[in-house]
């Protein structure tokens, strides 16, 4: 942002009364919002995930502007209400990471231009060739593209696309004076995701005409002037709105080729209620996306995965990396982290993904945690042959409360596809538990039915999905997962299926059982569990507060 008359606060207790004077491009710093310094927060609460990103305080929803810079620093922006634990007053929060797990909170990156126009979701790109003209003297200029959304007296108004540019690698932004850059006089036009398409030497934007169930595809030479190219509409599940479209090129397993993926979030009205994401593999020629078929594919089989965004700037020949918001609009404003710990909203672990044509069901988005081993503190239990037995673990001494586990069934005979792995994470204090399991060549399931810290008419208790054994699995069937205090993510067969489930126990989970059943002769089950790092605890000051990047650039 461009702040010619910015006041820097010296008295914290005063800021709730200060409205910053603005220049012509307008930046509105609302009451109570720290400027140019990170929002600080306490990450020590019992409900606070330790290897997942959550905001220091306030409310977070969609990941925005994901990019990786030339130094290998990952930038996460996010829809952020810094002044309350429900959605509203949307800014772009900002955090950076070297490993996608340990995040450093940065100052808020994008602010409303005035008190009735908010910064909704969008994306960011590095304009290394200065197509925009903003960056005559650098090759690391960053442009953010987002929705300027009017909300007047609580009623939504115009939604148009704006841009802002950053000279300092994405830490601070200047609003473009020519905003909006794309305005069709709609109240349902948002969430631009932009990428560079070498084939036409153009920027491509996918953007949602939300209530028309349409993704508009636009092209631009300079990020300022946008030309409509085509629409992709009325595919798959509609719900009541399409949101947060992504269009991304990614590798195809077992080949050197790539394919394109249209990824669309819908809310409300998902089959399980509320929010969900779906995807469409297909082809893209610079102007038109064509889905490979008329199939509707859901990205995650539980209920807490929405608004996923892929990092920009990763070549399509490499696995793509995404973050998703781990909640559901049906209950996100009610979960107990708000009143007890002052924050709501969490991202998934980063997921690395590609496309694979599986037997029977065909094209599938395969995703697993990105380099989760970088977060291993130590292996705390394992078994090389847990055949029809049970492994019991007390992990109350793991300070993060976060575990990664893997169970691998190997040596399967395709003619005798049997065997199950079940797991239970329980609280020794309260008896509450989450559980799940997978069956070779069959169902994978999760349950939060026996957790008592939160309930509401939409907090569905059980989730399941079915998989099929593939010969390419070479006799194996696996399940892995990340359990992090109040979120569980599981991955079947290296990411053929995945699920994200939040839950809110009244006492910390600290016991794990993993058991196997019906494992045939000559089949082996290996199980291992790792304690995960305390990513946030390393940043706590003597008060237990994480203050973030106090040396603002």
């Amino acid at each position: 942002m461009y702040h010619s008359l910015v006041l820097i606060f010296s008295l914290g207790f005063c800021i709730s009364q200060i409205v910053i004077a603005q220049n012509a491009t307008n930046t509105y710093v609302g009451p109570g919002i720290p400027y140019a310094t990170p929002v600080s927060g306490n990450y020590g609460g019992a409900l606070r995930p330790q290897v997942h990103f959550s905001p220091p305080k306030g409310f977070m929803n969609d990941p925005n502007g994901l990019f990786v810079d030339a130094n290998g620093t990952w930038h996460l922006y996010y829809q952020y209400n810094p002044t309350d634990v429900i959605a509203g007053n949307q800014h772009w929060g900002h955090a950076t990471s070297a490993d996608l797990y340990t995040w450093i909170n940065q100052p808020i990156a994008l602010w409303p231009p005035n008190d009735f126009t908010f910064i909704y979701s969008g994306s960011a790109v590095i304009d290394s060739n200065n197509t925009s003209g903003f960056f005559p003297n650098q090759d690391n200029g960053v442009v953010a593209i987002f929705t300027l959304a009017q909300v007047i007296n609580g009623v939504g108004g115009l939604q148009a696309q704006g841009i802002a540019y950053s000279y300092d690698g994405g830490y601070s932004f200047n609003m473009y004076a020519g905003n909006p850059v794309l305005n069709i006089n709609s109240t349902q036009f948002r969430d631009p995701k932009v990428f560079w398409y070498p084939g036409t030497q153009k920027w491509i934007m996918v953007v949602s005409y939300a209530s028309d169930f349409t993704v508009g595809i636009y092209t631009s030479p300079n990020l300022k002037d946008w030309t409509h190219a085509s629409n992709f509409s009325h595919h798959g599940l509609l719900g009541l709105q399409y949101e947060c479209p992504n269009l991304v090129e990614m590798p195809v397993a077992g080949s050197n080729s790539t394919m394109w993926l249209m990824f669309i979030s819908i809310n409300p009205g998902a089959p399980l209620g509320g929010s969900i994401s779906q995807y469409f593999p297909g082809s893209f020629n610079g102007t038109h996306f064509i889905a490979v078929d008329q199939v509707s594919r859901i990205a995650d089989f539980a209920k807490d995965n929405y608004a996923g965004q892929f990092f920009s700037g990763i070549p399509g020949s490499q696995p793509q990396i995404q973050l998703d918001w781990s909640s559901n609009w049906q209950y996100t404003g009610l979960v107990p982290t708000g009143p007890t710990e002052g924050w709501r909203g969490c991202m998934t672990v980063p997921r690395e993904s590609y496309l694979e044509q599986l037997p029977s069901v065909g094209w599938t988005l395969i995703s697993v945690p990105y380099s989760i081993s970088s977060q291993f503190l130590k292996e705390i239990t394992s078994s090389d042959d847990l055949k029809n037995g049970t492994l019991l673990l007390d992990y109350s001494q793991v300070s993060s409360g976060a575990l990664y586990f893997e169970a691998n069934i190997t040596g399967l005979n395709p003619d005798i596809l049997a065997g199950t792995v079940n797991f239970t994470f329980a609280s020794s204090a309260s008896g509450e538990y989450v559980k799940g399991g997978t069956m070779v060549n069959g169902i994978t399931w999760l349950s939060r039915h026996n957790i008592r810290g939160f309930d509401n008419p939409y907090f569905t208790d059980k989730f399941s999905s079915n998989g099929i054994y593939s010969g390419s699995q070479n006799g194996s069937w696996t399940i892995s997962g990340v359990l992090d205090r109040t979120i569980l993510e599981i991955f079947v067969n290296g990411g053929q299926q995945s699920a994200t489930m939040t839950f809110y126990p009244t006492a910390p989970l600290d016991m794990l059982w993993i058991g196997t059943n019906s494992i045939p002769e000559n089949v082996r089950v290996s199980v291992a569990v790792w304690a995960l790092k305390d990513a946030w605890a390393t940043q706590e000051n003597f008060n237990g507060t994480v203050v973030g990047n106090v040396t603002s650039t």
Copy 2:
């Protein structure tokens, strides 16, 4: 069936040892199965629905062969295991009704040709023009078309389509000696649904290549010789199998035109887990079906609605009528009606349906209970203006335990779309309850979370869906429902959304609360509740047994 050497049993205790000798077309009457006389059963159990069809004993799944004869008698056949309360040993059970609610159990209609070939799902038509040649002397000959499914030592084998013909209006059948009439040497080829297409003077069959996610469309002049015309494949949600396709012409609301509907059940792998049905509006020209768009539409937003079939013989200009199976393959073999009452499986109430283009979401299958008022015993409570108040009803004296309720919000101002209606059916003895509600211009939800008579990892507790107020509703928003001991079906705005939910309380539900909230000024809420008839009780003999149609034709 054609039984040249049939033995009629005179001693009931002997039948479990008798295997009937067969003629060349083979009919295998297994041990313990009554021949030419209905299976009797007790319908008095606390878990037994009273205005829904359930089998006298044993296990029921898909509705089959639905047709209405010239006398106005409705024929329901169904996938039936007469010897156990889990799936297997599939026959076609049979029942008839004058009103689609009061059913008379008839003798089993279709039997396996041998002990390793079962009769899987299919349909029935009246061959009034004797296209088949089976009926030179009558215009009411019935032909059943079904899958002959080999199951050898528990392993599925060949699935091919067979036919059988009935001279007596569908009460008894003769296997066609030329079976199978359609065989592609597949183990995944089933559930033929046949109808007459006047435009080409041909019979049309839609049949599932289940694991290829393909519906084959075949044509025939005579029900015996079938020609492949086209395939409809890879649309919508796949799950792991397409089953039970229907293709039916039906009216379009607000016009004199008709449209075609492809209705496909998928199992397992539905978004909520297990079984679900989806549909595709479109056009049909006698050989090809083309969906109107690439949208995936789910027929019912809860988890107990599968394998729906439309009655044959109703002109496309009239609302179509269907029955669906009210369970889910994830847990149908475990529900407590088996051990406690000796039966499992229930149909929905008959639903009358048409297509309507709703605002925003577009083409929608609208369905409501068919002529439910025919089942009203009496109105037991009502309110003409339940604005922001509560109505409490003790219905322990309603012997059926079955109620129909309606709540109508009227006089809505499109600028102030507010108001909710919530309901709770509870047990005064156990405190268990099911509940639900609807919000004007918003969500409708159901919960079986607080019912304790059955739980399992797949028995999901909560369901929800979203609707949008339409000006054509003329200021109204309504919810209605049928509660029948262990099944609840609800319908929003005259069937724009519907849901089917089974549940198994430990004590009968006998209390109802209906409450409203946030109803604006000048808006009215009328509520009424009717006791429903004891359809089965009227057929009980002095032992409490329903013996069915003892005068077999």
